[in-house]
């Protein structure tokens, strides 16, 4: 059997009262809650006692609502929304009990309501008296639904409200903690709880926010953006550890709050004959470990910037989008000449002869020029503050290397940009 509570002004209180009797609660409409009372008979007693118990608990909460008990959810809803006080519809007697309900109180389309009005039908009892086949022929599925409602035969499962899960955990510490180790133990416990919530709801986390309340009552916040949504405790905790090692809280911590932003997890179909690739979660963790060692911007993927400026690229933590570079097979089987760039370019002292480099002296690069090609002049971004201009030379030196030199035409300074290899 099902019970329905109706009070348009108190949806949350109804849901709470219904939830205290059954985990299966449907909020049919604002102010209308239906829940299953199957099994309460052995615990409380017959339907009259169950209704009395619901009424008693409602009164304790100061809730004044209509209550109806019936064999089907729709019958319970109809009785609760149309009859004041407590109504018990005995199983098999729905047509009789619900018959006096006017059709104005039954949810249906306006077109159907108009048809019933034109036919002179005013109550559910009038509809129940009609032949069902004829009704279906004239009014199709919706007409038949109202007929089954009128007869108390409309059966359906409850549309349960999904449980509201919070992905936020907070814990206060007995003593302010300065060391990272004990703090991570607490964070591990909180993260473990959050990961269990994620698993239970088949979700993964895209962002992790750690809010640390410090000893001086100020708040220290760290936000971890995860390129790959994750739901496993171990990599998440390791990421938090690496981040806090790189950015430790400035004062002892007295409370920890962790919050995850849930998203649907990644679904990927692998292929038997596709080349192996690093597992994204693991790759992200590996990169985080390396970044903690070499610095934030020194590990990741290089993305070329659409400009002629030399050495123009940016580092990204996730692979750049497809399409920024071609993947057509190389036209030539021969290798391209490699280039090893010196960052920053080596400032050089260059002696010239006939306006051509004759001798180069720079840290690690010194020698007479045996061959030189140039100058190749280029410039760009002259319409911005970051204008650049250069004269390039390809030179072979007596030290055995083949280098690219460039000269700033404004300052006249020379630099060794790199080595052809």
């Amino acid at each position: 059997m099902y019970a329905c509570l109706y009070q348009p002004q108190a949806t949350e209180a109804l849901a709470e009262l219904a939830g205290s009797f059954s985990p299966e609660v449907e909020i049919t409409a604002p102010g209308t809650g239906v829940f299953s009372i199957a099994g309460l008979g052995r615990l409380i007693g017959p339907p009259q006692q169950i209704a009395a118990e619901i009424a008693r608990r409602g009164a304790e909460r100061g809730l004044v609502a209509n209550l109806a008990l019936a064999a089907t959810p729709d019958a319970a809803v109809l009785a609760a929304t149309n009859f004041r006080g407590v109504t018990i519809v005995p199983p098999g007697r729905e047509a009789v009990c619900l018959g006096p309900i006017p059709l104005e109180g039954v949810p249906m389309s306006e077109e159907l309501r108009q048809s019933f009005r034109l036919w002179g039908l005013r109550t559910l009892a009038d509809v129940a008296a009609l032949p069902p086949i004829g009704l279906a022929e004239r009014l199709c599925e919706e007409g038949l639904r109202i007929y089954e409602l009128a007869c108390g035969r409309a059966r359906r499962p409850l549309r349960l409200a999904p449980p509201v899960t919070g992905y936020c955990e907070r814990r206060e510490l007995e003593e302010p903690v300065r060391e990272l180790g004990p703090l991570l133990v607490v964070m591990g416990q909180l993260l473990g709880e959050l990961c269990r919530h994620l698993d239970a709801n088949s979700m993964a986390a895209r962002r992790l926010t750690a809010e640390l309340e410090l000893e001086d009552r100020s708040t220290y916040m760290r936000v971890l953006e995860l390129p790959v949504a994750q739901s496993r405790l171990k990599p998440l905790l390791k990421l938090v550890e690496l981040d806090l090692e790189a950015h430790p809280p400035p004062a002892p911590v007295r409370a920890v709050k962790l919050e995850l932003e849930p998203v649907r997890p990644r679904r990927l179909q692998g292929g038997l004959f596709l080349p192996a690739e690093p597992e994204p979660e693991r790759l992200h963790l590996t990169l985080a470990r390396i970044r903690a060692m070499v610095g934030e911007d020194n590990a990741g993927f290089a993305e070329l910037i659409d400009t002629h400026r030399p050495d123009a690229f940016r580092m990204t933590s996730a692979p750049p989008a497809r399409g920024s570079e071609s993947e057509a097979p190389a036209g030539s089987a021969r290798p391209r000449l490699g280039f090893r760039r010196f960052r920053p370019p080596l400032a050089a002292r260059v002696k010239t002869s006939d306006a051509r480099p004759a001798h180069v002296a720079a840290p690690r690069v010194t020698g007479h020029v045996t061959e030189a090609a140039g100058p190749w002049r280029s410039s760009g971004d002259w319409w911005t503050a970051a204008a650049w201009a250069r004269e390039e030379w390809d030179v072979a030196l007596t030290d055995g290397g083949l280098y690219r030199l460039w000269r700033d035409p404004i300052s006249g300074n020379w630099f060794v940009e790199g080595e052809y290899d």
């Binding site: 060692m293 590990a299 070329l304 391209r336 490699g338 290899d421």
Partner: protein
């Protein structure tokens, strides 16, 4: 009576892509760089190592594999590599900033992370005294980490390293610079490179030319 089960003679076993990263540059001496093994390349300045590295990275990334480069001196040039055919979005680049310990640890983490077709450790510009101070146990550790994986571990340096651990060892020499035109209208065309495959098997020379853009 059943015939005894014998392993086929070594020469009869043709190498497959599971055993090697195919590389046309190394044929006919080698079918490619061995997977699950440590390959070392070394040579003087402008000897063609970088062209070879870019060719290896391009071969792997164009097959759909992911590659990683632990770059000690931050010498990698993404523009030149992209022109050589490297698919940059499949290449993890670690800039070591000249710290040899960081570069070694990064290579170790990448190898243990797994899933890469190629992991390259470029120790190119490191001075000889620093290279000589690297404990030999590192090379054994790398060899153990890469063993039984489909990864090619490529070690680049100016001098031979990890001699006993390497499954493949190639020395690079420059045989000449290709110029066109007469002074003062010269144009750099490329490098003429000689590679000596010293391991596995007897020493065999390979010659090719690396073209400028």
């Amino acid at each position: 009576m059943a015939a005894p089960l014998l392993a086929p003679p070594l020469s009869a076993v043709s190498p497959t892509w599971q055993d090697y990263l195919p590389l046309a540059l190394l044929s006919p001496c080698l079918p490619g760089l061995p997977r699950g093994g440590l390959s070392t390349v070394f040579g003087a300045r402008s000897s063609g190592q970088t062209a070879f590295r870019d060719a290896v990275l391009a071969a792997a990334t164009r097959r759909g594999e992911h590659a990683a480069l632990a770059d000690l001196g931050d010498h990698f040039d993404p523009q030149a590599a992209a022109q050589a055919g490297v698919v940059l979005r499949r290449l993890v680049w670690v800039r070591g900033g000249g710290n040899i310990e960081h570069a070694l640890k990064a290579a170790d983490l990448l190898l243990h992370g797994g899933g890469f077709g190629v992991v390259c450790l470029d120790l190119g510009e490191a001075p000889a005294p620093e290279l000589n101070r690297i404990p030999i146990s590192y090379w054994f550790r790398f060899r153990a980490a890469v063993q039984h994986t489909p990864t090619v571990f490529l070690l680049m340096s100016r001098q031979p390293l990890a001699v006993s651990c390497a499954a493949c060892r190639i020395e690079f020499r420059r045989r000449g610079i290709l110029w066109s035109g007469e002074p003062p209208f010269r144009l750099l065309r490329g490098l003429r490179i000689e590679a000596l495959a010293r391991k596995p098997g007897p020493e065999r020379p390979l010659r090719w030319e690396a073209e400028a853009e």
